[in-house]
Amino acid sequence: MPDGASVADVMARLDVARETLTMTLVNDTAVRPALHDSHIMVDGDVLTVFPPIEGG
């Protein structure tokens, strides 16, 4: 990814639809959908994406 890529950019590259997400983490921080465009990824960041799931 180019420098300054946001969470949204990474997800678009991976073809992950924003509205299906329940939880997105960058390292240990939850990043809510409203902030996906503005949260900029840094080299070495780990992005974790969990699809919607509930119950147990």
Binding site: T20, T22, M23, L25, D28, T29, A30, R32, P33, T48, F50, P51, P52, I53, E54, G55, G56
Partner: protein, 608 residues
């Protein structure tokens, strides 16, 4: 139409079975299953009696859609005053026995009193009889299900029963059907044991009718069409709910070691990936396949096996065959909550909980409380007979075997976390609400769940409300009270009173469920009517609990949740901000500051 119109009322004291017509007014107001049975419960007993007293009433209830062709239409519930909580109890189960009871022609079976000797109920369409169960008493669920089928001469008979834990009235004993499905929570199995009722066996060949078959089948087809391609269905097929373990661990809301922690370092040995990996000297793979309930096209059930050389089952061939496997609540409760990362030990504990009918969530929460008491020195190895530190797989195995039979120190664990911790002078160590142990979500890290646990009518519960989406996205409190209230109402009607399973929620919406009800029943059903019905059910349950002596003081959380910050994860430093949400919640509900429904709320709902 939808409903069969017949109720079976069994007086266990006198040994009689009576056929009575369904109260149609009540059915229109409370729908079925949880809602309708709660109404019958309220009208049949004094909510203040002790749960183990013969005056407690025990109801097995189906929904109007149960046994129809609606997707997942196999659900039934057990409703009573809970032995664990002394609050209203409603435990929902799948499998096949609920549909069988409905196909036999019964909307509901009501048990009153106490049998002087062990009995089981045999329902064969409209032939019903109480049969001697003295030869079944003292035996496990796994032992008696085939025994009953043999005795009655039909392998298609479905059985719901209690194990030895229910007979001994372990406080969280449950009712198991088809060997590994359960009406799990709140000790409904202990109530059954207190009545000397060992099992219900059912065979139904009557079929079911709906009011407008064309309209109904069109609604069913529409529901199936949105369910079938949905990604959530694929996830349930592949992973059941097991996948949630990685979610809560990474997010930081996985109750670990009695909620001392919110993440578990042993997660990689218990998660979905681990269940696919060959492990141990025999290269055993834990997960074998999945399994469905009646009318279900999802099949979230897990079937698993234990490594035959594992210490828990070596030389115990009865555990060498596959059985119910790891889903989220049991892997959290028997794994992270007690600090055990041994997948075979955790699976073994799950097998035993099914074999002798114990709620895995409450067993795990109670064992976790015992482990913290042990580490604090409040109980000793002399008493327990085994190392009961957090993480002791040996301790897990020994305690589950003892508790299943109500023996040894296991019987102490069978008191449930709250009574156990009170007995040993450390009540603050019980992670419970209204006496019921937490599910797999730490409320410090999930604010909506904090409110949901505290206000659930049956004690701490992850199914009453649905705050998952909001809680995984934000800890801001705004909107949480409304989400909790709305989902409590909707779910009470849609997923606990209609007869279909909550796992269609992501793919089949409230309008689609209303359409199925509208086709099945004579009267008109809409999404708004479902919501209003749910709100009525919720308030009726609250009235029951209030009459049982509960109130605002019980809508709370353990001290640890309110004052000890989450130690790690994305919500590190947070506590459960219940006090900031509860007043708004009460206001939205139309209740006063003591959590009592106001007169105008009750009038509006027809409950005055």
């Amino acid at each position: 139409m939808g409903w069969t119109g017949k109720i079976l009322r069994v007086n266990l004291t006198e040994g009689t079975c009576k056929n009575e017509p369904l109260n149609k007014d009540w059915a229109e107001q409370f729908l079925g299953q949880r809602g309708l049975a709660s109404k019958y419960l309220m009208e049949s007993m004094d909510p203040a009696v002790d749960a183990l007293d013969p005056a407690n009433v025990l109801i097995f209830a189906t929904g109007p859609l149960t046994s129809t062709m609606a997707p997942t239409a196999g659900r039934y519930s057990v409703i009573t005053k809970g032995a664990l909580t002394n609050a209203i109890a409603c435990s929902n189960s799948g499998g096949k026995v609920g549909a069988e009871i409905k196909l036999a022609g019964w909307d509901m079976v009501i048990f009153e009193g106490r049998s002087p000797k062990p009995v089981y109920l045999w329902i064969d369409d409209d032939h019903v009889e109480l049969r001697d169960a003295s030869h079944l008493w003292g035996r496990s669920v796994w032992d008696i299900e085939p025994a009953i089928k043999n005795e009655l001469g039909d392998p298609s008979i479905k059985v719901a029963s209690i194990g030895r834990s229910g007979e001994k009235m372990v406080r969280f004993a449950c009712v198991v059907n088809e060997l590994h499905r359960a009406a799990g929570r709140s000790g409904v199995g202990a109530v059954m044991g207190s009545k000397n009722l060992k099992a219900i066996a059912a065979r139904g060949a009557g079929g079911v009718t709906v009011n407008d078959p064309k309209k109904f089948m069109a609604a069913v087809a529409h529901a199936k069409s949105t369910l079938q391609p949905h990604p959530v269905r694929q996830r349930f097929i592949k992973m059941g709910t097991h996948a949630m373990l990685d979610v809560t661990h990474n997010f930081g809301s996985l109750p670990t070691r009695n909620d001392r922690d919110v993440q578990f370092e042993g997660v990689d040995k218990l998660n979905v990936a681990a269940s696919h990996n060959p492990h141990g000297p025999n290269g055993t793979v834990n997960l074998i396949t999945n399994k469905a309930c009646f009318a279900c096209t999802i099949a979230c059930g897990r079937i698993a096996q234990i490594d035959p050389d594992h210490f828990s089952i070596k030389n115990k061939p009865q555990y060498h065959t596959a059985s119910g496997g790891l889903e989220y609540e049991n892997v959290f409760a028997l794994g992270a909550m007690v600090g055990v990362d041994d997948i075979d030990a955790v699976t073994f504990a799950n097998f035993v909980c099914n074999e002798d009918g114990m709620d895995t969530i409450s067993f795990g929460g109670s064992l976790a409380a015992a482990m913290e008491l042990y580490e604090e020195g409040a109980i000793t190895k002399e008493q327990t007979g085994v190392n009961l530190s957090f993480g002791s797989a040996e301790g897990l195995v020994k305690m589950v075997e003892e508790c299943a039979k109500g023996e040894g120190f296991g019987a102490e664990i069978g008191l449930g976390a709250q009574r156990l911790c009170e007995k040993y002078g450390r009540p603050e160590l019980a992670m419970t609400v209204k006496g019921q142990e937490f599910a797999g979500y730490d409320p410090r890290a999930m604010q909506g769940m904090a409110l949901a646990y505290a206000t659930s009518n049956r004690g701490a519960c992850h199914l009453r409300a649905s705050p998952f989406a909001t809680d995984f996205q934000t800890s801001d409190l705004e909107g949480k009270a409304e989400i909790v209230k709305t989902t409590q109402d909707e779910r009470a009607a849609m997923f606990d009173s209609a007869g279909v399973c909550a796992f269609i929620a992501a793919a089949v919406n409230i309008d689609q469920i209303a359409a199925m009800l509208d086709g099945a029943l004579e009267s008109e059903w809409t999404a708004d009517r479902i919501r209003e019905t749910g709100e009525r059910i919720w308030n009726l349950e609250r009235l029951f609990n209030n009459a049982a002596g509960m109130g605002r003081k019980d809508d709370t959380l353990p001290d640890r949740m309110l004052h000890t910050p989450a130690p790690s994860g994305t919500q590190k430093g947070m506590v459960a901000k219940l006090d900031e949400m509860l007043p708004e919640y009460y206001e939205m509900r139309g209740w006063d500051e003591e959590g009592q429904p106001r007169g105008q709320t009750l009038s509006r709902l027809g409950l005055a």
